[in-house]
């Protein structure tokens, strides 16, 4: 369990290798069993192509998942992995991250797993800032149980369990994560390999909890949920990709932009506003990140992608280890002394 400083905060302590790795090295011998056309395939391929670039020892990478279609992910990665129980992956991964600073720990979860049954663990993991990378595959539907609405399904959605339309108001996962003061929050589309890779890389490099929401198509139970974001023309008007330190403009020619309005943000035409009024993204500003998250709407009129927030704060696991190490350095582990305590008496024969 050697600690190696890569100069990448998120991976400090994780051993590296000089051996050249390829995507093939990360494919396990198990047959992938998602439905044809499932967005999960693209995410899996993107992950397998991306991981070699980190140069980590494969045995020091662990994927922990919950239950759901996406949670089969660990079986297909030739790393260590645990396919755990519904909603609990963040808790199990927290225990692993606390115990082992030399591992790069990834959580794979879905909208039902992370936001419904496991909502509590998600917000507390983010609040504690455990050094975990959480990939939230959001397809806005329950797939494995065959088509019930999820906590991210739109209001009024007709599904097997809501023939008259869903009554639930959905979560905006990015707003939720920022409400828990997550230190890193990003969003990407399954079909955007470059965008997804960029967010994954930044997540991996970040020390602390990183939540990455991935819009992922379920071709069986919610096909086309994100089609408007995949149509080249529509996407231009709808996707607001943010980059830290850069003015927030979008559209084919940057003809749209984001400006301040009241306590929040609004979309405007670049031609209608003074260039100095265009908001410059600052990923360390929680209020700005939150306001950005509010620009995304259920009907996908606008969807913000990229890294909303990236801020440094102490991680739970580093701090927990620091307390243990401090205690070990200042107080000998003398079991006999502990057992004797302060008050003893001796019986002699």
């Amino acid at each position: 369990m050697t600690a190696i400083d890569l100069g990448i905060p998120g991976l400090t302590g994780v051993p590296t290798t000089d051996e050249k790795q390829t995507a093939r090295d990360y494919k396990s011998d198990q047959e992938v069993r998602w439905c044809p056309g499932c967005g999960d395939y693209i995410v899996l391929n993107t992950m397998q192509s991306f991981l070699p670039s980190l140069g980590l020892k494969r045995e020091n990478i662990v994927f922990v998942s919950g239950i759901g279609c996406s949670s089969r992910f660990p079986y297909y990665m030739n790393t260590y992995g645990m396919h755990s129980i519904h909603g609990r992956a963040p808790a199990i991964a927290t225990g692993l991250a606390v115990a082992r600073p030399d591992l790069s720990v990834w959580v794979v979860t879905g909208d039902g797993d992370a936001l419904s049954i496991g909502g509590n663990h998600l917000i507390h993991t983010l609040r504690r800032n455990v050094n975990l990378k959480i990939l939230l595959f959001n397809n806005r539907i329950y797939g494995l149980t065959k088509g019930q609405y999820s906590p991210t399904s739109e209001e009024g959605k007709v599904t097997k369990s809501t023939p008259l339309g869903s009554l639930d108001h959905p979560f905006n996962p990015v707003s939720l994560a920022l409400g828990a003061e997550a230190s890193f929050v990003g969003r990407a589309l399954d079909s955007d390999k470059a965008g997804l890779t960029s967010v994954l890389r930044q997540a991996a490099e970040h020390r602390g909890s990183a939540l990455v929401e991935i819009y992922q198509n379920c071709p069986i139970f919610n096909d086309g949920a994100f089609d408007v974001l995949k149509d080249a023309d529509e996407a231009q008007r709808r996707i607001i990709n943010v980059v830290d330190g850069e003015p927030i403009r979008f559209g084919r020619e940057g003809e749209y932009c984001v400006i301040r309005e009241g306590f929040g943000l609004a979309v405007a035409k670049s031609a209608d506003v003074d260039a100095s009024d265009i908001v410059i993204h600052d990923a360390s500003d929680l209020n700005l990140s939150f306001a950005l998250s509010r620009l995304s709407t259920q009907d996908l009129t606008h969807t913000v992608t990229g890294v909303f927030r990236r801020a440094d704060r102490p991680t739970y696991d580093d701090s927990a280890r620091a307390q243990v190490n401090e205690a070990k350095a200042t107080k000998a582990a003398d079991l006999s002394k502990l057992l004797h305590g302060k008050d003893t008496w001796t019986v002699v024969g």
């Binding site: 991250a97 663990h121 070990k328 006999s336 019986v347």
Partner: protein, 612 residues
Amino acid sequence: MSTETRKLDRVVIRFAGDSGDGMQLTGDRFTSEAAAFGNDLATQPNFPAEIRAPQGTLPGVSSFQLHFADYDILTPGDRPDVLVAMNPAALKANVVDLPDGGILIVNTDEFTKRNLTKVGYDSNPLEDESLDKFQVHKVAMATLTIGALEETGLGKKDAERAKNMFALGLLSWMYHRPTEGTERFLREKFAKKPDIAEANVLAFRAGWNYGETTEAFAVTYEVAPAKLNVGTYRQITGNTATAYGIVAAAQRSKLPVVLGTYPITPASDILHELSKHKNFDITTVQAEDEIAGIGIALGASYGGALGVTSTSGPGIALKSETIGLAVMTELPLLVIDVQRGGPSTGLPTKTEQADLLQAMFGRNGESPVPIVAPQSPSDCFDAVVDAARIALKYRTPVLFLSDGAVANGSEPWLIPDVDSLPDLQVEFATDPENFQPYSRDPETLARPWAVPGTPGLQHRIGGLEKQDITGNISYDPENHDRMVRLRQAKIDGIEVPDVEVDDPSGEAKVLVVGWGSSYGPIGAAARRVRKLGMPVAHAHLRHLNPFPKNLGEVLKKYDKVIVPEMNLGQLALLLRAKYLVDAVSYTKVQGLPFKAEELQDVLADVIKGVSA
């Protein structure tokens, strides 16, 4: 008039007052004095679930019972010989337990009309005949304490709060207890508030002097030191012994411990204690809920630490699914259940043994889990070390069934030599040659513990059924049948020591079988009936799954088997099912330990029935 001194072999004292009166502290200090003097002792606190129930009311009564003796005792005592009642509520709630002729010491200051009405006394019991059958000592403890502290300049309210130390001083005088320890303790406890420390010491001395100088007390009592086994002793509660056992398991296995837990009565003290011992490579995580607590523990075990979670019954219900995952993934995990009265929230501060079947069967599917139960406060140490041994050696979750009585009770503990503790070291899998995650050790049937970070052993585990040997997902019917049986066989094959039978005469025809914290009352009851000339055998089970190998044979030796439990017969059900033995249940669920007296009657009746 000189004071007479009588020698006694044992005394039971109960301090009772309002939950804000400091009765637990008072009892605790008297216990330390008894321990320092060399008596054997056993204690039982009893307090409300509310932190501060309305003052002066029956639900707000808190008490601490202490039994000390010049021989080895097994229980905190059925009834007090001496009752100290700090207010009318404490008197009303406890006087029913005081036998005729018992000593009753009452703080008269609280017996106002208002306080009497509050608990439903129509007339003042100190002024009518209702207490005539007791030796009543009326002491204005608050007034006397305030008087003694007059010169300290402390306000009346603060001064009055030291009246519990006055009571302790008085009792310490009556029973010839050493006082240095208490004075030292008070000065340390209130080190940051020296005036409060001195006030408490003064109140303590005032109580002592009150006994010595007034002529109210004609008799004092001496209880000589007990003849205990040679060695060094300390006083210990069950929860502390459990925490120390976990520290010992960490040291003897040379593994870090990660405790993932959520506060719950009566288990929280295990978290409090372990969080102080990070220097032993112990990490404590107070999780967001019970489920996260065990998840964190299991995640840590997956990473090669000893994962531990601690809770009480309702928490076990929440953790069940993760225990099942640990059964499936075959990872070591220690699950501490400090049982309390149930179902649901039940009686949080009271004791019960009603989680046995939950521990045994409370999961979906065939999900066998070993169960270990301590029999007394100090026994928690050895029992939890043994539970850790099983978890590590057999790669399985283990349920440790403590309960409120052993957790909060205390007794002297012969401190073990740490080198004599069992070696719990395990070997992680390292060899990639022919590595299979679900291959098994031929003797233990344990699978390899292959932790992340080990080159060449990358594999995936999870809750889906495993293919034998490879651990890949398998839905094959034959394979599932085989795996269910393998998991069961692994637990059935766990090595546990034979159960020992205590039958001094060797002539018993009746066997009493118990488990867990009923050891004390059953043992004491057995001694009593033997003294009356009736032989009885006592077997007490630490291992409830698997049972000791000789148990079936033991049960069949006796004409009658009786099983007292603080539930509705859960162990009896298991014994009847497994051994086809006509075990008779004696059950009680009042949230309190059995009394030796009642079990004595039960055993005597059964023995007489068999002889007739």
